[in-house]
Assembly symmetry: D3
Homo-oligomer: 283 residues x 6
């Protein structure tokens, strides 16, 4: 008799046979406004049983692909450096084993650990970034390692022209000015997402999806709700095109489930995770 | 001095004079994910006083029509068979008295009891079904009497071509395959609703409206929120055409008010109930 | 060392130098359905630190303009007359000092106190009114001083042709009939807002924004949620045109934060206040 | 077929035969901190079906006595004077018909209306007052008609030695000084309650029970929770002695159910109402 | 690499070596008032990481004993008969393997399935029952298989003198009369618990703990909160004596976590489960 | 006209004249289970207006003493080291100016910063520690600077015999063993508090009060509720004796207000802060 297991619905492959690995990073230590994203991975796994394994959008079933759910990383509390090191090591191990990692946040800073590992293996990595916030600050109240700076730290690694930002509707004036010089930024909407996919060809791509890109009406379970976001069906339309690129990893961050007692935010996150998994080529 | 009465706003006709009868079926015994729909009818009655009796959409007032609010059915707990029998008997009695029943759920299984009664009286009955979920399973974990199978049980009664489904965005692969053969199903949207009404002519029509057809942004107070739904104004546009058909009964199900502490879901349900009542021909 | 101050983010001008004055009116004494709007001003100030001072919509920063936050009016409880008198006196004082007042409600009745003061100073005042409810009743259960009558009381002051209503989707039949004769009313939507601004030329304008004009999906933190409202981005598009008129005062009312535990309603209110402040000419 | 009725559980006598009349006064217009007591009566009726009609404490059943539930008073909003007049008239009518009124608040100011009626009929009336707050202010921010002044207004009517206060643990210094002169006040506890009952003999007694006398641990659903209160079983022990006096009326006030999402506060209120009803002599 | 496991904290023994087996029964199909107990087991496992494995009360550590967490039973929805059969089979299997089962409810009806299995193996079984409610009805609205009848069904199996009830404070008159004849019932308190343990000697004992025996102040996360319960430390004092009897099985039921957003109810349940596990003799 | 100030009720002295300084430390970066204590200070200030300035317990009024409310420390997020340095500096400055600091947490780690400053000024400092948790770990998952280690870090500074712990009911076996050697620990209760005060004579004393020492029934708004705590009136009885010692500073930590939507936890914290302020000698 086996111990009680709890995985995302339909993700019950063994590690050896899996093409994709799910892993939770329950960290929210640098959250500036309202913490709670640490509860994201457990909430997504638990409520995933409220959705189906079948997607009527792409007409595929999770059981047809092979996903291993590795559970959550064990993390010390209050130490961003440790979290980044542990995340990088774990992602590097997944990549070395030929797996495609899909991370469940946690706050947005976790992305830096993942991209450090991906960039080592894929030096020509491109990043798709969907978010309400630019996250391009040099530092946040003196701290360079903060969720509000994470895309700036990614730029430190990748340089100009590698980062494609969509849905951005909040930031300091200086962040928008930086983006005009150094990233591709689509403000307010997801317009142009399809063209960017077209341009990426075979480039290895990492998707970082901060769920607060969604309008708070459809996703209020997050630390910093920001009115005027994109609609779920607009986001879904983008996700349904991801099979066109060479997606080598992804993360879905900033679900803070306690702020949405209805569970609708978690349910939306579950559906998005399902659709991303079903889009990964070769899986 | 009369005992304290509590009816839906503006529904204070006596039974004898009423054309329409409201009745609550506070049952949620087969709910698979999150129960609570049993609290729907009481919540709708109580919060109906937050809306007006006048509809600026169809420019009619509830007080102009004659609706009797029969309160809720008394039900044993945990026995779907009893609930179905009692619902069928009550609806049959309303029909025998020349009334048009509008039921307030409760979970979706209640619809089966109502349609059993309606189909006996109107053998050529057609069903309009708005829902996020196909509800076409043969059984659910071995149980044939479950909210997840209710439209399949209705099909057992009515056969091919009698069921028109709209807004469906979740189900197993087999349910969508079944629908392709045996029902008319519009996936994701309400497109084509007007054409279906046109085609129905004088056929007696029963409307079953699972409120989770709405996007969770506009209706999160339900057991299984499913992202990507239709908007309230889209649903309202359909409802405002119902006077074009011979609507002989209706139900509004799956409000689970505890999951939406803001009350917005209940308020939306109240408004939908008002508009349905005002659309019933002859009333 | 200064005592602890709490102002809306970026509103730290001194009174003498300020062009705009923010002031809270924490009153909800005539609320008919669900009270709580008294907590609006404190909630808006506290959560304003979750948004930025920079607006990527109009590309301005709050720190570039001069706004003084006067805190909340001290009010006796349960006395609408006193509230109106105190509000009128305070607004009159701001106007006399050459400031443009922006009031944070509180329920909608507060608007009457403000407009009394504004109309004395600007006898040709026009009013822009965005709301789910017509608020044109003669009285409400016998009371002429009620949030449900406030625009009728304003009409008593200003007369025909001075009131422009948008987004109205609820009211009694008689209110809609009154509007057809005496106000300009756009039902359901914000269509025509731009044309009305055009027509106002240099007329002094007061904006009263009942936040329940928004769809409850985007703003459920209010006493009387009413389905079928306008979207945040539609409202924002209107607000971004306000620099075209001579806006001499404004209020933002009916946030009742306890009904939205996610904080999304308060966050939306904060963003709307920021954008209104940035639109005021001369500031 | 009867319209839907909703009464407190087991309170289904007709008016003519009833000894006791339940009546809700859904008013919270002078609440100073957090409103919501207007929802008390509806919440108590609805949740009363979660308790039994039988009391194992006094071994009586509600069905053995005759209670009529008159529903709620229709009240204009925001007008304390009207509420007081309407309450006084209604209570006077009940008394004139030989009934003993039990009122469900609403806020504490409603007590003044009831006692005005009772005192006219019973000039030697004594009042039992259980509360966290002294409610003995002369006025509250200038208003003499406020929940915070209600026992002072009662004293204006009844004079010295007629008011017995228990459990008081909050107030201004002046209120405690006033009590030392003019009322019998037991601070912090219910000690001495039994002796007071003994001393009352056949005097007609009105009980006003502000539920916030309970510790917030057992009753958090109230506008102004005040730590350090009495326990439910202590309060119950007092109530179980009420048959020893000539209780001619009572009220139970300040349940504000939205603040306790667990429903435990409402459940406690229901149980207290049941026990008070069962203690009324002659019923 | 292992799939993600989720067990109660410190319960990570393999099945073969375990003395105790934890198993969840997520069923709430006959709940009469407010459902949600199905979420109990998952909530207890998840929040168990907020407590320690060490008990300062009995000075033992969970890691010192051997507990296997078998996860939850897979159950069809809305079918009490199936649930009882499956529970009985599972418990019988545990007993056959020499394990002591500790079940996590779910509603109280689950106890019947467990006791059916235990009574077959231990015909002289005695039952310790802690609860707010007598649960001794013959039937509930015609249903004999209901949480409100569960101890009556147990009595059908065991007969007079085998059931020891504590803390009972709610029920119909007939239930209390039945108890006076057929069970040992301590009303309102846990008085006499120690004496009962003493009297049990080596009799095999099953403990069924309905957590609503606790006062709602300490445990509001339950379907039917009933004021006037026992305190946690009183309950704990009883549990700490359980090593004195031959405890062959136990259940902890009626946590409905959604009703207590603070998490305190779940935390209390976790601590109680820990202490029961540490009391089981031979483990 | 002054900018909007927000202080704890009755704490409106200027800095120069003040004897006591209130200061918030809104940090929760090392919280292991559920974050949110960062919202403690703002919540305490805002809700302090729900209590009175007068204490009927010690019969003093806040306006009689001189307290300055310095607002909150500005802190970088996610950096415990910076928080400790900034807290230490601020407390040192208060002490240098002859003020007695009372800090509002935030999580328990903040205490280390305060005690570092106090110990420099008062090398013979003694610490009174009330808490559910021992907080004596060497490290927590490798981190020595964690709320779960804070008293161990204080012991590093002060050494044996200086720390008096009360109410402790959770910890690892090793922490209880450590306490037996190096601190004075009263498990489970506050017994002996009075004797310890007696023994302290004129020793400078710092009080650190983790509010989770209270039973969750009276204080559920905290990150790690732990059943079986002390009652508010027991804690209050201890606080009311504090004037007997030379209290040179204090903190009140671990209110996490979002977990208690009733507001009762915040109300209890407000009352405790008021009583501590009124006990400080010389103030």
């Amino acid at each position: 008799m086996n111990k009680n297991t709890l995985t995302f619905i339909g993700c019950d492959a063994d590690y050896a046979e899996a093409d994709i690995v799910l892993c939770g990073i329950p960290f929210d230590g640098t959250t500036s406004f309202r913490p709670g994203a640490r509860f994201g991975p457990a909430s997504i796994r638990g409520d995933s049983f409220g959705i189906e394994t079948y997607s009527p959008y792409c007409e595929r079933v999770l059981n047809d692909i092979r996903v291993f759910d590795a559970g959550d990383l064990d993390l010390p509390f209050g130490n961003p450096q440790s979290m980044l090191t542990l995340t990088q090591e774990r992602v590097a191990a997944f990549l070395a084993d030929g797996k495609r990692p899909v991370l469940l946040g946690g706050e947005h800073l976790i992305t830096l650990g993942a991209i450090r590992a991906c960039q080592r293996r894929y030096p020509d990595l491109a990043v798709l970034h969907m978010d309400a916030h630019a996250d391009l600050r040099t530092d946040y109240l003196g701290e360079p390692l903060s969720h509000a700076c994470v895309l700036r730290r990614v730029w430190d690694l990748l340089g100009d022209g590698r980062i494609h930002q969509f849905g951005i509707r909040s930031g300091e004036r200086a962040e928008f000015a930086f983006a005009a010089q150094h990233t591709h930024m689509q403000r307010f909407t997801l317009d142009g997402f399809s063209d960017v996919l077209q341009s990426l060809g075979n480039t290895p791509v990492y998707l970082t999806l901060d769920l607060d890109v969604l309008d708070p009406s459809e996703f209020c379970g997050t630390g910093t709700p920001e009115a005027g976001g994109v609609r779920f069906i607009e986001l879904l339309a983008c996700i349904l095109q991801l099979h066109r690129v060479n997606l080598i990893g992804a993360d879905v961050v900033e679900l803070s489930p306690h702020y949405d007692p209805s569970g609708a935010s978690t349910a939306a996150a579950c559906k998005i995770v399902r659709e991303i998994l079903l889009q990964i080529k070769g899986a």
